[in-house]
Symmetry: C2
DNA sequence: GATATTAGTTGCATTTGTCAACTATTATTT
DNA sequence: AAATAATAGTTGACAAATGCAACTAATATC
């Protein structure tokens, strides 16, 4: 048990570095890592709200509010007040927002491509299988909570 | 290829969340995540220097310098100027530093334990195998650079 | 010896994030 | 229905994290 924990921790340290190298979604762009994740999740989540983002990312709602305001000024998102509950605003990407997100994603794709470019096709398969296994095992666990 | 990239990116997003949940090494302690990693790496790396840390974590050397100064004030580390090159200072944890690091590690252990507590012994084995595979595949690649 | 490079420090600026008070709206209690 | 509580989001003040650039001291290179 103890050994296993140490192995998992080692993997985590390792993967923190990988993530750093990938600088997921954001590197060299006009978005911070958090902003990039918010932009992505806004497009990903149907009828996204500030509340959802704040809960999902475990970030202060004030901070989320400011990020969204910035996005709005840059015309990346627009908000539509819910007709059912006027406290709630749904957030949607504008076409410009989708464009910017696509740029981020293209960049991220390139980085991942770079990361696996020297790995044989077969090994990339193994890599992804392993990732899926980890995800499946940890997700099951999370659902039990 | 494209699909594979998407799968890897999905795993990365997933694992970012996991890391967040684990709040690796630091959560609720008197250390920020970065400080915790620096403390760990200082103990991990033989004859650690500020330069090494700054390169390793890709962080500004001024920032590292400040973290180390804070550590020194808290008597967690001490520095020994290299006799060969007096610009260089080796960093060593004091016994208090080792104590604090141990506390962080114990906490991290608990979190990992919590994370895997509902997974069968066998599946934990699969989890770790998968992690090792990922590490091996990506490390090989990194060495080629 | 002059110049360039390197390790580390320091002050300033920026970015990132938290906190608490506030508004508007909806839900709950009595 | 009026009073109260709870919720979504905003705002400004603040604190923490990080980057930048100029600096010192030491070493390396020419």
């Amino acid at each position: 048990m103890e050994e296993q924990i140490q192995e998992i921790k080692r993997f985590n340290r390792f993967y923190i570095k990988i993530m750093g190298i990938l600088s997921l979604y954001a590197d060299g762009s006009s978005f911070s890592a958090t902003e990039a994740m918010v932009l992505y999740e806004t497009s990903n989540k149907k009828d996204c709200t500030a509340k959802y983002l704040s809960t999902y990312f475990v970030l202060d709602k004030g901070y989320i509010s400011k990020i969204l305001r910035k996005f709005e000024k840059r015309e990346l998102i627009e908000r539509v007040t819910s007709s059912k509950d006027r406290r709630v605003q749904y957030i949607y990407l504008t076409s410009k927002g989708r464009e910017e997100l696509k740029k981020l994603q293209d960049r991220a794709n390139e980085k991942v491509e770079e990361m696996i470019k020297d790995i044989s096709e077969q090994d990339v398969g193994v890599l992804i299988e392993s990732m899926n296994k980890i995800e499946a095992l940890l997700e099951t666990k999370n659902r039990r909570d």
